[in-house]
Symmetry: C2
Subunit: 195 residues, 2 copies
């Protein structure tokens, strides 16, 4: 009955994604996943060190893109940071909205897990960029509303095609974001916004 290793590994991963999307991470037991695959719980733990490793592998691509966005943000300030953050984050949320849907509302406690320790800091820098590094409360509040609301909307509209969801979100962001006062006379370097 032993299948090729990669086969079962992938099946477990797919089953986990399906179950997490329905009942959430905490609400899904290893037994549930095993039942869906048609193997024993011990088999799941043979292929993955623990439950957290299963989630980490599922989220790895999305996290890689998030880190890349964080890198592209370093050094940018004001309107330039706003622009890169907005385009990058909307793109990220749209592309990985299925992964986001898996975690529906479990981000806070999930981020506390060792595997996602750095995500917290990245999201704080992203929020700063969204606010154009402004200290004005209005700017920071708008930034957080968008950063929290966009993933939620992406997870909800899983079936809306990318090229409909993305422009709608970008239009919303442009309208909603507080225009930042150019404290530094910074030329709008929009050259790398589509890299």
């Amino acid at each position: 009955m032993a299948r090729a290793v990669s086969e079962t590994h992938g099946e477990i991963l797919a089953a986990a994604a399906r179950r997490f999307a329905v009942t959430g991470y905490r609400g899904t037991s290893l037994q549930d996943i095993a039942r869906e695959v048609g193997c024993s719980k011990a088999t799941v733990l043979y292929h993955f060190a623990n439950k957290e490793a299963l989630l980490a592998e599922l989220m790895a691509p999305a996290i890689a893109v998030l880190r890349d966005l964080d890198d592209r943000l370093t050094g940018l300030t004001g309107a330039a940071a706003q622009q890169v953050a907005a385009v990058g984050f909307v793109d990220l949320a749209v592309r990985f909205r299925r992964e986001i849907a898996l975690l529906r509302g479990e981000f806070p406690e999930l981020l506390a897990q060792p595997a996602f320790a750095h995500i917290q800091q990245i999201s704080e820098r992203l929020r700063d960029a969204f606010a154009g590094h402004s200290e004005r409360p209005g700017a920071r509040i708008s930034a957080l509303v968008l950063l929290a609301g966009i993933p939620e909307a992406c997870a909800e509209f899983v079936d809306v095609p990318d090229d409909e969801l993305r422009p709608a979100l970008l239009t919303l962001v442009r309208r909603a974001v507080e225009p930042v006062e150019s404290s530094l006379p910074q030329p709008p370097t929009t050259e790398d916004k589509e890299s």
Copy 2:
């Protein structure tokens, strides 16, 4: 050692609020709450039928206001509905942001509990109103971003005073919301928006 009933009852409620705010609803056990009060777990369950009843009593005031908003929304369409929904929802989120913070990201599964069965429907009607009852995807997407993001922002900025948070959010909503085409020539009846 027996205290007055209302005293212990209130202490348990306060302790639960404190613990829920830190570790979330699911992440807080009845034992945790009992430890914080300085009584036994059985005492907690003497004063409250079960864990869900504890949460329900904690959220009761917020839910009452939400139902009231829902009532005021019935019959309204287009821009009028948008206006009432925006002002009402922002006010609700600001006033009860401590209660919202308790549940940080646990809304989806919490709403599945019997005690909150009707909330799901109310929030759907609220989303419709935010979108001005428009079917345009852009309008519906913006509505969901705001409806999901505003509570999150309110929970995050617990320490920002009301009269700073509220106008910032209202400004954001006015900028972000898609202006609805007045399909019905409806006079802007804003008379009851501040009742």
